[in-house]
Symmetry: C5
Subunit: 360 residues, 5 copies
C-alpha cells in the first residue's frame, strides 16, 4: 500500500473515449510472458513460447481445457491482440489493464464470465502489503488469466498440480480451474490475515503490559488503515462468489458448486476475522487511552501531594523569617522546636488525609 496512492490516473483518463486501453500501473521493463496450458484428465501440454498466434478460442467441443496465463498487462497492444483473438468486449479489456479497477464480476452475453481481483501478499523487502491486479476470463472451455508482471507467477502452484498428477484439477472443466485460481488468491488473504493477527497479539501484549508509547498508537492507526484497505479489497469477493453460486451463469457446472461454497466460506471467514480485528483495535485503543489517563492522574497526584504538604510548611517558615522587630515567638528558646513540631504534625495530618482518600 504505497503512500502515494494517487497517481493522477483520473487526470490521465479525463476526456478519453470510454474503452480506450490506458495502463495506469507501475512502469515495467520486461516483455509480457504468455503461457498456454492445454490439459484433460489423461494428458497436458504447456507452451511457454509467449507466441500470441497460438492463443485462439478452442473449438466448442474440444476435448481439453485451454488455459492462457498472461503475466504482464503493461503492453496495451498485447492485451488488445489477445482481446481480438478471443472476441472480448473493449470495456472488458479496459478493466484488465486498469489497475485501479475494484474487484468485480461481469457477465458478457452469457458466454464470457469476467472477474477482476486483487492479489495481496506481504512484501518482505518493503515491509508492506503488495497489491497485484488480476483478471480472469472464463469462456466455454478456456480460461485466460491476466496478472501484473512481478517477480513470480502467482498461479505456479496450480500449474504444478496440473503437471504433478491427473487429480481434481485435471479431471474437471474450466470452471473448476477458475475456482482453483481464485482459491490460491483467497489462501493468500488468509495468510495476510494471520500475519496481521500476529502483529495484533504483539500490540495487545505491549499495551496490556503498559509498555505502550505514542509509537504504539501510530502502529494501531496504520494497522487500522491496512485492515480497512484489505476489507475493501476482499469485500466484493463475497458478491462475486455469490453470483457464481446462484448459478447466474450457465458456465458453472453442478459439481463445482460445493467447491465454490467452500471458497465462499473462506472469504466470509477472512471478512469476519478482519471485522473482529477492527473491533479489537477499538478496544485496545480504549485500554491504551485509559492507561495514559491513569499515568497522567498519578503524575497529578504526586504534584498535588508534594505541593499540598510543603506549601503550607514553607508559609510557616516564611512567617518566622519575617524581620519584624516585635515577634514574641522568636525570642522563646523553645520556639524553634515547637515550630518544627507543629510542621511535623501538619505534614502527618495531610499524609493521613491523603491516604484516607486513597491518593497515596
Amino acid at each position: 500500500m504505497s503512500k502515494h496512492r494517487h497517481n493522477r490516473s483520473a487526470e490521465k483518463l479525463l476526456g478519453t473515449s470510454p474503452g480506450t486501453l490506458t495502463y495506469v500501473g507501475q512502469e515495467i521493463e520486461h516483455a509480457t510472458k504468455i503461457k498456454r496450458i492445454d490439459y484433460n484428465a489423461t494428458d497436458y501440454s504447456i507452451d511457454d513460447s509467449s507466441r500470441l498466434s497460438a492463443c485462439k478460442i478452442p473449438p466448442a467441443e474440444a476435448p481439453f481445457v485451454s488455459w492462457v496465463d498472461v503475466d504482464g498487462i503493461h503492453e496495451p497492444k498485447v492485451v488488445a491482440a489477445i482481446g481480438q483473438q478471443y472476441h472480448l468486449h473493449p470495456l472488458l479489456l479496459e478493466d484488465v489493464v486498469n489497475t485501479e479497477q475494484k474487484p468485480k464480476l461481469d457477465l458478457y452475453d452469457d458466454t464470457v464470465v469476467f472477474i477482476t481481483l486483487k492479489y495481496l501478499h506481504h512484501s518482505r523487502q518493503r515491509q508492506e502489503i503488495d497489491i497485484e491486479h488480476v483478471s480472469l476470463v472464463l469462456g466455454k472451455n478456456y480460461l485466460i488469466s491476466f496478472q501484473e508482471e512481478r517477480s513470480k507467477d502467482i498461479f505456479e502452484p496450480v500449474i504444478e498440480r496440473i503437471k504433478a498428477s491427473s487429480g481434481k484439477t485435471r479431471r474437471n472443466g474450466a470452471d473448476y480451474l477458475l475456482y482453483a485460481l481464485m482459491d490460491v488468491m483467497v489462501d493468500h488473504y488468509l495468510l495476510i490475515t494471520e500475519r496481521i493477527g500476529e502483529k495484533m497479539d504483539e500490540l495487545e501484549e505491549e499495551i496490556v503490559e503498559e509498555r505502550a508509547s505514542q509509537q504504539t498508537l501510530s502502529t494501531l492507526y496504520k494497522l487500522k488503515r491496512e485492515l480497512a484497505f484489505i476489507r475493501r479489497t476482499i469485500n466484493p469477493l463475497r458478491d462475486i462468489v455469490g453470483t457464481l453460486l446462484r448459478g447466474e451463469s450457465d458456465m458453472i457446472q453442478h459439481t463445482t458448486i460445493p467447491y465454490l461454497r467452500d471458497l465462499s466460506d473462506h472469504v466470509n471467514q477472512v471478512i469476519e476475522t478482519l471485522d473482529s480485528y477492527r473491533e479489537l483495535i477499538a478496544g485496545l485503543m480504549d485500554v491504551y487511552y485509559s492507561i495514559v489517563n491513569n499515568r497522567m492522574n498519578s503524575v497529578m497526584k504526586t504534584l498535588t501531594i508534594v505541593s499540598a504538604i510543603f506549601i503550607p510548611l514553607t508559609f510557616i517558615a516564611g512567617i518566622y523569617g519575617m524581620n519584624f522587630s516585635n515577634m514574641p515567638e522568636l525570642r522563646s528558646p523553645t520556639g524553634y522546636f515547637w515550630t518544627l513540631l507543629v510542621m511535623g504534625c501538619i505534614a502527618l495530618g495531610e499524609i493521613i488525609y491523603f491516604k484516607r482518600r486513597g491518593w497515596m
Copy 2:
C-alpha cells in the same frame, strides 16, 4: 480462548489441493472412540467397541435410528474411513477435521444435512472458555456426530435419556436426535452467558461503589472480547436453525418443527442477552471514566485550593522577610500582629470564595 489464536493453519494449508484432510487442532494421544447406538421406541442397543466396520448406512426402511457418536477427529484416516462408508463428500470431511471452520449448515444432494458447531464450556482449570469443534451429519435414518476428543463425551445426557426411557427421543426420528444434540449445546451457551452475567454483576457493583481500578478496565476489556467471541460463535446458529425451520431439507419432519422453533428461541435469547451485556459494558465504561475523571477533578481542586490560599500568604511573609534597611512596618511594635490578621482575612476570604463556587 487461548492467547495464541493463530496456529498458522493457513500456512499449513497453502498450496494443498482442496478436500485434503488436514487436522489443525491440538495434538491428542488417545485413539478415536466410536459408539454406535441403534434405537427405536421399543428397544435400543449400544455398541462401544469402536469398530469401524459396524458403521454402515442403514437400509432406507430400517425400523430404527442409527446414531454413530465419534469422539475424536485427530486421526484423518479414521474420519476418511467413516466418510467412505457413508459416502460423504471430501469437502464435508475437510470441514469435520478443520477445527478453524466457522459454524455452518451445508446441504449435500438433498440426502445429507451437514452442520458444524462450536461447543463452548467454561473450563475450571484454565479459567477460560474452552471450545470444541463439533460436526453433525444427518442422513435418512442415521446421524453421525463428530467431536474433538476431550475429557468427556458432550452428548452423554442424550445417551442417558435414550437408555433411561422410551421418551420423546426414542419415539422420534433422526431429525429429533439432531435437535436434541443441538439443544444440549445451546443449553451450554445459556450457561456460559449466565456465568458472564454474574461476572458483570460483580464488576458493576465494583464500579458503582467506586472500588474500581485500572484492573477493572482490563477485566471489562477481556469480557468484551469474550462476548464478541461468543457472539461470533453463536450467531451463525441463527441461520442454521432458520434453514432447518424453513424446511429447505425434506429430512426435517413436521413434528420436529416446534422443537426447532423452541431452539431458535433459545439461540435468539442468548444473542439478545449477549448484546445487552455489550451495551451494559459500554455504559459501565462511561461510569468508570466519569468516576476517574471526578477523582482527578477533586485532586486538582485540592491542589488549587491549597496553592491559592498559601502562595499569596507566603508572598506577604516574603515581603517582610526582605532585608531593606528602611522598612517602616518592621519597626512598628504591632506590625507583626497586623500582618497575621491581614493574612487570616485573605485566607478567610478565599475560603468563602471557594465555598461559594462549590469547590470545597
Copy 3:
C-alpha cells in the same frame, strides 16, 4: 428490574428433556386463582370458583366467547391440567411457566395462537419497574390468559367493561378480547414511558442548570439500563402485532384489524419515544461532561492565575531576603518602596495579559 437477574435458571434446566414444566420465577404461596367468563352481546356469566373441571374447549359453534383467566403459574400441575383439557402442546406450556421466556407469538396448527408478553408496571414500594410474565392462548372461540400471581389481576379493567355494558368487547369475538387484553398491557407501557419522561425532565433541568453531580450520572446510567430493558421487552411486540395484522392466522377477523392497527401504532409510539429518550440521554451526557470539563478548566485557570502572579513576586521578595553582605539596593532608603512599586507593576501587567486572553 431486580438486581439479581440471574437465578441460575439455565443450570436448573440443564439436561432436562425439552417440554418439561419447570417454574423458574419467584416463590409464591397463594393457590392459583382461575376465573371463567362466558359472554356474548346479550349476556355474561362469571365463575370464579377456581375449579379446573369447568375449563373445557367450548363446542366450535358455541354462541358465546369463553375466557379463562388464570392468575398464577407457579403450580406446574395446574398449568399441566389446563394444558391437557385444551390440548395444548407441551412446549407451549413450558413457555407459559418459564418467566425467563422473551415475548413471542407462536402458531400451533392454525387452531391456536400463542402469545407471551411482559406486563410492566412501576412498583411504588420497590421504586423500580416490576415485570410480570403473561401468556395468552387464543382458540376458536375461547381465550386463556395466564399471569403471575401478584397483588392484583391485571385484566380487571376488561372484566369490569364486560360486566358494565354490552359494549364493543361483548359484541365482538375472542380475537377482539385478545386485542383488548394486549391493549391494557400496552397502555401500561405508555404510562411507564411517561414516568421515565418526567424523570428525564428533572434530570435535564438539573444538568442544564448546572446542579448535576456524580450522582446524576449514575441516575442517567440507571435510566439508560431501564430504557434498554423496556426496549428489549416491548420490541418483539412489533413483530407479534405485525404477524396478527398480516392475517397469518385465520382466527383474526376482518373487523378486528383496525383495532390491531391502532395497537401497532401505540407500540411504535412507545418504541419511538424510548429511542428519542435514549438519544436525549446521550445528549445530556455530552452536556454534563462539558460542564464538568468547564468547571475543571475554571479550577485550573484560578490555579494558574494565582500562581503566575504570586510566584514571580515571591521570587523578588526572596532576592531581597538574601543575606549577602554587599547588596546595594538594600541600603537605599527608597529601595523598599521601589520594590513594592515594581511588584505592583508586574502584578498589574499579568492581570492585563490574562484579561486579554479571556482567562479572567
Copy 4:
C-alpha cells in the same frame, strides 16, 4: 416544542374503551370553525357558516369537489357529528382528536384515505417551534381537513388559489387537493429547515472564530433536540407519500402521481438536510471540544513555564536567605551579583528549552 411534553395523556386514557374521543391537547375557548368549499373547473362556492348540517357525503357522481375545512378539534361532539355524517370509523375520529398521535396513513375499506400530519411553524412570540395536529380525510369526491384552532387557518393559501383562478387546483379532483394541502405543510418544513440552517451558520461562525462559550454548547444541544424532533415528525411522511405513490389506494388518479413524486422529493430533501445538519453538529462539537482543550493546554503551559522558571530561582534566593553563621558566599562582595547572573542564566536556559519544545 414545549418543555412539558408530558401532559399525562396516557394516564387520562388508561382503562377507557378504544375508540373513545378524548381531546388531550391545549385548552381552547373559541368555537370550532367549519368552512365548506365546493368547486370545479368552472365555478366555486364557499359556505363559512360553520353549520354542520351542510356537511354531507356528496353523491358519488357529483360534478364538483367538496372540501370541508374544520378549524378546531377541541369539541369532541362536533368531531363526532362530522364523523357520523361521513360514516367515519370511531378509531379514525380518535386519531383526529388525539394530538399525541404520530403522523400516519390508514386506508379504511378502500373508500377513505386517512392521513394525520404535524404542521410545524416557527412561533415568533415563543421563540420555539409550534406544532399543530392536522388530519386529512380523502373520500370519493370530498376531502375533510381537521386542524387545531390557532391564530390562523393553515390552508388559507389554497383557499386563495381556488378563489383566484380556475388553475390546476380547480381543474383537478379531491386527490390533487389532498396533495395541495400536504404541499403547503411540507413547504413549512422547508422553511423551518432553512431557519435552522441560518442558526447553524451563526453557531459555526461563533465556534470557528473561537468565540464559543458553554452557552454555545447548550444551544447546540437544544438545536440537536429540535432536529431530532422535526426528524421524527417528518420521517413518517416518507412512508405516507410512498403509499400514495405506489397506488395502494384507487383514489389517487394517474395525473396526480407526478405531483406526489415532487412532494416526495421535497420530503426527502428536508430529511436529507436535517441529517446533514445533525452530522454538522457532531463535527462542530468536535471542533468546540478541541478549542476548549487547546485553551486548557495553553493555560497549563503558562502555569508550567512560570512555575518552572521561578520556583528554582526562588529556591536559590532561599538558600542565601538562610541564617547560617558560616556561609562563605555571603561575605564575598561580588557574591550577590554572581548569584543574580546565575539566576539569569538558569532563566534563559529554561526559556530556550521551552522555545525549542514549542511551548512558548
Copy 5:
C-alpha cells in the same frame, strides 16, 4: 460550496402554485446560449445560432440523433419555450430551473427520461468546489441538456469527439449520448476525489510528523464537510444509473448497457473512496487528539518534576531562614554545608524516583 448555502429559496417558493418556474440560483447577465447538434455515423451539423425555433422534436424515424445543448437556465421564458416545443411536463421544467433540486431520475410517460445531476469542479480562483445544476432530457432520438451558464461549456469534450471522428458516440443513439454526458460528469467526480486524496495525504503527513496545530483540525473539519457534501451529491447517482441499468425505460438500448455498467462502477468507486476518506479522517483525528494529549502530559510532567524537586528544598531553605534566637544548627560551622548535602541527596532521590517511574 459557498458559505451562505441558504438563499431563502423556500421563502421565495412559499405559496406559489406547484409547477411555477422560479430560478433560485445566482444572478447571471449573459443571454442563454443554445447549440443544436444533429449527427449520425456518417455526418454531423452544428447550429449555434441560439435560435429557439430550430429546436423541435425530430420525427420518430429521423436517421440522426438531435442534441440540444442549452447553456443557461436563468431565463424562465426560454426554458418554458423549449418545454413547450418538446411537450415537457411543467414539474420537469420546474426541476430544470430549481438549482436547489437534488439529483434524481424521473420517467415521464415512457417517452421521456429526465435526469438532474450536479456538476462539481474545483474552482481555482475561489479555492473551493463549484457546483453547477445540470439536467438531461432523453427523448426517442433527441436529448436536451441544460446547464447553468458559467465560463465554459461542460460538454465541450463530447462535442469535440463528435466533430473529430465517426467513433462510438457517432455510431450510437441518443441513449449512448446520455451515457457520454454523464460519464464526463462522473470523470470530474473522480478528479475531485483525487484532489481531496492529495490534500488528505498532506494532512496525514502533517499529523503523523507531529506538525499539526489547531488549524489542522479546522482543515480536517472543513474537509469532512466537503466529503459529506460530495457524498450527498453523488449518492443519488447510484440509484439513477441503477434504474437505467435495470431497463425500467425502453429507451436504453441493449448495447449501451455495458457502458452504463462501467459508469455504475465508476460511481461506486467514487463513493467507496469517499467513504474510506471519511474513515481515514476519523482515524487521523484520533491520532491528532492523542498527540495533543501526549504533549499535555509532557507539560504536566515537567511541572510536576520541577515542583516536586524544588518545593521541598525551598522549604528546607525556609526553615533555616527563620529568625528564632535559638536555632542550634545555625551556629554550627558546617551546618550550611550539611544542609546543602541533604538538599542534594533529596534532589537526587527524587530524580531517581522519577526516572524509575518513567517520567523523565
